[in-house]
Subunit: 356 residues, 2 copies
Amino acid sequence: MSRYWSEVVHHLTPYVPGEQPRIEGLVKLNTNESPYGPSPAVLAAIAAATDEALRLYPDPQSHALREVIAAHHGVAVDQVFVGNGSDEVLAHVWMALLRHPAPLLFPDISYSFYPVYARLYGIETRPIPLDAGFRVEVNDYLAAGPCAGIVIPNPNAPTGIALALDALARLVRGRQDAVVVVDEAYVDFGADTALPLVADNPNLLVVRTMSKSRALAGLRVGYCIGQASLIEGLNRVKDSFNSYPLDRLALAGATASMRDDVWFAQTRARIVASRARMVAGLEALGFEVLPSAANFVFARHPAHAGATLAAGLRSRRILVRHFREPARIAPFLRITVGTDAQCDALVAALGEMVGA
Amino acid sequence: MSRYWSEVVHHLTPYVPGEQPRIEGLVKLNTNESPYGPSPAVLAAIAAATDEALRLYPDPQSHALREVIAAHHGVAVDQVFVGNGSDEVLAHVWMALLRHPAPLLFPDISYSFYPVYARLYGIETRPIPLDAGFRVEVNDYLAAGPCAGIVIPNPNAPTGIALALDALARLVRGRQDAVVVVDEAYVDFGADTALPLVADNPNLLVVRTMSKSRALAGLRVGYCIGQASLIEGLNRVKDSFNSYPLDRLALAGATASMRDDVWFAQTRARIVASRARMVAGLEALGFEVLPSAANFVFARHPAHAGATLAAGLRSRRILVRHFREPARIAPFLRITVGTDAQCDALVAALGEMVGA
């Protein structure tokens, strides 16, 4: 506490990211990182950029990176906005596009940073409950009345459940009065992307990260795609905040990553295969596993509390994520899909605990 | 324009950074970058960090970097806040510490990002005119009445003129009602630092960047130092915005930079010596040069307009910065101190134009 703080600071409840422990030998399945290192082309591009040119500012417009993203997704360069991780992209989206005098709508069980941004920028929120099967019900958003905007993670986190393209289309078309942000942090692991809807819907913004499917959590690069007028709003805020959020090395690495389709397809396929193996192992132990389209699963055991299982895994040097709140998800563990060996270690450790 | 923009977006006038042209062979003296590459230890540390660990998130608290900064300046770790360039640090300072219902005070001629942040966060501003010699007059700030805070760049930009420690102390002690931000982006080139005042003044925040004296503009690292309660306010905002603004490579490089005192002292001395050489050359051509404590000089010629000289230099492939506004500084050029050879090229080109 300090008398010098701005009023808003007293009311902030910051987001708490998953632990980044500095302990060797952990099986780290708590923050949805890729178990595989980034493309070798990324490391080579960073190495090539590690020279005396670091004395120079980066390109404030991140032109080369935005060009390769635009080409990859078949959109125009002025439809692409990049930032320091999708977290920074989302923060600017809240400020630039979702700060309106009405409540912001998002699922009650979702990425817990969403209400944190809202508090930072003084945006009212109205969480919309997932249905009994932990699914997003589009009709709830269509019927919700005036709103500041709608945020749908697809697939959702921490549930892993995806919404199909036709449902997303119904939402985006039915709410032309509001910006609809589709947060596709995990889309590459099996969900439909909303990108084909961008051309016809000036209210749609699709957010991506390179932290998960591109194995670059340590490089901090995210982006979003929408019609040029939405992107211009984001640029105005970004250029009033920090001209150069992406450093030269992040630009070099991210650009190389977007060009390496082979590495991308291979690692994605491996993670999807490991997910199936992990789900089978968990189900054999009696776990209920929600249908995951992400690089993590959300699972509960009918006879064992989530907190107890998370603590037991931790004592076995395996980290997973457990959320105490809301109460409805307290029985669950959110488990990142690792290598096959890590998935097997996780299942074996849980087997000891649930006595299978 | 878009009907989806938040109200504030319509009123933003973003900061325009100096050009980063993609043209080879330019003498680039327009953005106050170092003419020397970063310490070899920095490049080695980045190379060592360029590996599969990029798949993992960075340390959200940037602990190792904050420890080495704290040790370097003789303060505690909880007195250090780091960000994606001092631009991001300043943005968070505006949000966390300067958003109060009174005008924010800063020099009328100063870093032109200050009013941009204020508009982003809805903070009223009251620019305080520099005196006839382009100097900050502390008494003006002491007598200004209630304020949201005070921002003093020391040395000031684009003038390069520094304020002495006793004047800063008088300001900080005389305005305990407000946070005083001393922006020391250029302090390493010859000004007094306000850091010795931090221990006794809970209202003082000192902001630094690694972009200038550490030759790391391309890596995006800045920091600030103040008493722990101010830093806690900044952390609350940062953790409500982006958990990990510094990527693994920036953390590795910046940490190595703070450890290399020898490189730092050598390059700083070279730039200070080149500045003296450039000033002598300009004065021999009839330029008036403000007394600079920075890695740039601010100079005007009695017989030639600033815009004309800037355009003439540009046609000779030399970039400097020229500000059209306010009118009082339109006659001036802001010229970054380069290598001796670059300084000589600049002076020779100006010599052709002013006919010496």
